[in-house]
Amino acid sequence: MQANAEAEKLARVRLNFFGCMRSDWLLRLMGLYGGAAELLKRPPAEIAGEGGVSFATALRLAAETAAADPEKELALARKAGVKVLTALDDGYPELLKTIYDPPLALYVRGELKNMPAAALVGTRKATPYGLRTAARLARELAEAGAAVASGLARGVDTAAHEAALAAGGVTWAALGSGLNEVYPAENRKLADKIAGSGGAVISEFPMGLKPMPANFPRRNRVISGLSLATVVVEGGFESGAMITARFALDQGREVMAVPGPVDSPMSKGPNDLIKNGAGPVEDAGDITACFPYGALAAAHPGKKGESYLRPPAALKELSPDAGAAYAAIAADEKGLNADELAQALAWPAQRTAASLFELEVAALVASRGGRYTRV
């Protein structure tokens, strides 16, 4: 029986090499024939006849799975320190098994702990508001003991992963490419950090698969599938974050959104979700409130006095100049660069530099490409 399980796992890894938009019909065929190993033994004509797929697709399935080498793939994964899980293996997330079409194989780098998670998703072209809010929510979730799931993309995803790591929390990144092809390239180090600090970088795609646009919506169902709730931080109507929200809805998970300014194109998506009944999120307490009772080891974090609404307490310890500079920077949604600040306050360079230094060291403002925005 042991040998059979081994063969079935290899068969599933092999079957996973078939490139398709969704895997639900493969799961149906596996159900029909009693496993991937059985399915792979059937001739294309039989699969086409009984399985309700076109003959062309069945032929392509046979060709692509025959070309795959699952043993080599497993060796490759082992070499990269990656575990390959199928639904037969222990450690395959229970929550993910319950979705409509769970991945046939899950490549995991790091550790996929059994803990409640929330997904923070959003656009790559986030505004300072989106980045700041994503980071705060991620930090609060980490402090509450929940994992933060996201997609390792630029913008909101990166902000969420980084903030969760900085708070010493657990974060999961689901990729739309193979684990040997981390995309975007500048997040490679971030991926290493996630895998090395109790979190996990995961993918359902073969190790060496290059990032392809078609695969990114597909991986979004994994992000929402791993999570009890999916929070859209920022994104337009047609953004990937909205696709994740739809998956979460299909999977019967909680969909929530961060309300944003009505004139911000990046808040169109979340505001629309709220209009249609999604829960608005102000802080992590709003998210964990919809977790099942007892899901979190710690008690639900209450509202923390909505500290983010007021100027931070740290500001009191700084000079009046720093306070004035902070007010000027916070007043502009896009932030200011050093020169604009000097002009806004009509200060000479020395005075402006001194207040910026105070604020930056106190981590009250952050500079991105030379623009200072409040954190």
Binding site: E186, A342, A349, R368, G369, G370, R371
Partner: protein
């Protein structure tokens, strides 16, 4: 018959004596020039024949050998035409049986036109400076007379071969080259007050001028990078007499001093980014000074810095470090001085709009990283000041009052330079930017509060250890501008602001 005519040649920017020996023997007519002549010197043969005949003399149909001694040194340029022609005339007895004293004791420089008239040549000033202590007379083309006057050597200006021949035989037909015109009233170049806003950039330029720090300006298109750079020279103190001569020599060697003036205002060179590395730092089989040397004692402005070729950018290392360029060739190597202030300008990213207040940047972080990585660490290491420029909004243009005039800033800069002269014992070319590690320790002691600033900068803002030295040097200059003996905390804090390209965010997720 044999004749010897004294003339001069150039190695780098220094002149040396050359003797043009002409020997005319009977035999089959032949005519050769020896003594490592380059192509331009070899062509003197044809010019000399025509010039001699068209000046009313016979050109001997005999066996003529011309030797340019010392024969092992390379000779380049067209200025040997006149001495060779005079040698031919003297050796064929056209200038009298015994060589007159004027022929024996004078030096001759000039290119001949086919009709016998004299054309101006490059490098007259550095060549004549070799005669400085000899009290001998030089005859130069009339077109070079203003430049020759700068040398302080007794010079006569001639307009054709015939005039020179007559002068040698005793006539008074040649005029002295005159004197250097007095310095004109300080030119009213473009003023920094015309640039509105850009508080940090102006301040950075002030610090750069005061401590001889190189500076890089990062800003979107149209933020006034070249406008600022063109006004930078106005902040520097006027050129000293030695500086003037040295820069004029370099201009002369490059044939740029044809207007023949002493260069009095600091050079401002702005080569295009397609320039080759040889043109930038100097080179060629007959070495010529590059743009870095033409900017000697002045400003080298490199706009679109990352667009320069990698070899060109890397070639800047030597002059930025040693203030000179050594052009080594198999047969010789020459040294050109190149003490310039580098003002580089670049866009923040390939599209130019990263960090822009209105426009969206369309670059990926990787593109930005690759763009910035074109300026290698060692080069960035030699640029002490990084400053960010913001685009000017129209509203600001109207509202912002005019800035400080250049003269007021230049006065502060001058004071800071005086302080540095005292600090480094008045040695030439020493500045805060060029402090050694030892000097850094002795001149940049930090008070208690200030070293904490550096620690914060490293731990919280992600500065690398190697940027700390730059911060210290710049702090020293900021303190000097204020006339403060010791560096204070606020000086260091301000200096930190001018290292934006060192921050870790500049490389990581932007």
């Amino acid at each position: 018959m044999l004749a010897k005519i004294s003339t001069l040649a150039l190695k780098g920017i220094d002149g040396f004596f050359v003797s043009a020996e002409v020997y005319i023997a009977s035999g089959l007519p032949a005519y050769a020039i020896v003594g490592l002549p380059d192509a331009a010197v070899k062509e003197a043969r044809e010019r000399v024949v025509a010039a001699v005949r068209n000046s009313g003399f016979d050109f001997p149909s005999k066996r003529i050998t011309v030797n340019l001694a010392p024969a092992e040194k390379k000779k380049a340029g067209t200025h040997f035409d006149l001495p060779i022609a005079l040698g031919v005339l003297a050796a064929s007895g056209k200038l009298g049986k015994n060589p007159p004293a004027r022929l024996e004791e004078s030096f001759f420089i000039g290119e001949l036109a086919l009709d016998g008239s004299l054309r101006p040549v490059a490098g007259v000033l550095p060549m004549l400076l070799a005669l400085k202590d000899s009290k001998r007379t030089a005859v130069v083309p009339a077109g070079n007379s203003a430049e020759a006057a700068v040398s302080g050597v007794k010079c006569l200006a001639a307009s054709n071969l015939k005039q020179v021949a007559e002068w040698i035989s005793g006539s008074d037909g040649l005029n002295a080259c005159g004197t250097v015109p007095a310095a004109e009233a300080a030119g009213s170049g473009p003023d920094l007050s015309e640039v509105k806003g850009q508080t940090f950039a102006k301040r950075a330029l002030e610090i750069a001028a005061a401590g001889f720090h190189n500076v890089i300006m990062v800003g979107p298109p149209g933020s006034g990078k070249s406008m600022l750079a063109k006004r930078f020279g106005g902040l520097l103190p006027p050129m000293g007499p030695d500086e003037s001569i040295e820069t004029t020599k370099l201009y002369s060697v490059s044939g740029l001093a044809s207007a023949g003036r002493l260069v009095r205002e600091r050079p401002f060179r702005e080569p295009h980014h397609t320039i080759s590395d040889a043109a930038l730092i100097g080179g060629g089989s007959n070495p010529r000074p590059g743009e870095v040397s033409l900017a000697h004692n002045g400003v080298l402005f490199l706009d679109e810095f990352p667009e320069f070729s990698r070899p060109a950018i890397e070639a800047l290392r030597e002059p930025l470090e040693a203030f000179k360029v050594t052009v080594a060739r198999v047969k010789e190597s020459v040294v050109y001085p190149a003490r310039f202030l580098l003002v580089a300008a670049m866009n923040p990213c390939p599209c130019g709009y990263l960090g822009h207040s209105v426009r969206e940047c369309s670059c990926t972080p990787l593109q930005v990283h690759k763009y910035r990585a074109r300026i290698s660490g060692p080069i960035l290491d030699r640029i002490d000041l990084h400053v960010q420029l913001s685009p000017v909004k129209y509203a600001d243009w109207e509202a912002v009052p005019k800035g400080e005039p250049s003269a007021a800033i230049a006065a502060r800069v001058l004071k800071a330079i005086e302080i540095q002269k005292a600090r480094f014992g008045g040695r030439d070319g020493r500045s805060n930017a060029a402090m050694t590690a030892g000097e850094l320790r002795s001149h940049c002691a930090l008070p208690e509060g200030a070293s904490a600033v550096l620690e914060l900068a490293m731990n919280k803002l992600g500065f690398s250890a190697r940027s700390l030295d730059k911060i210290l040097k710049v702090s020293r200059t900021i303190a000097d501008l204020e006339g403060a003996a010791a560096i204070k905390r606020e000086h260091v804090i301000e200096a930190v602001q001018y290292r934006m390209l060192d921050k870790s965010e500049a490389l990581a997720g932007i």
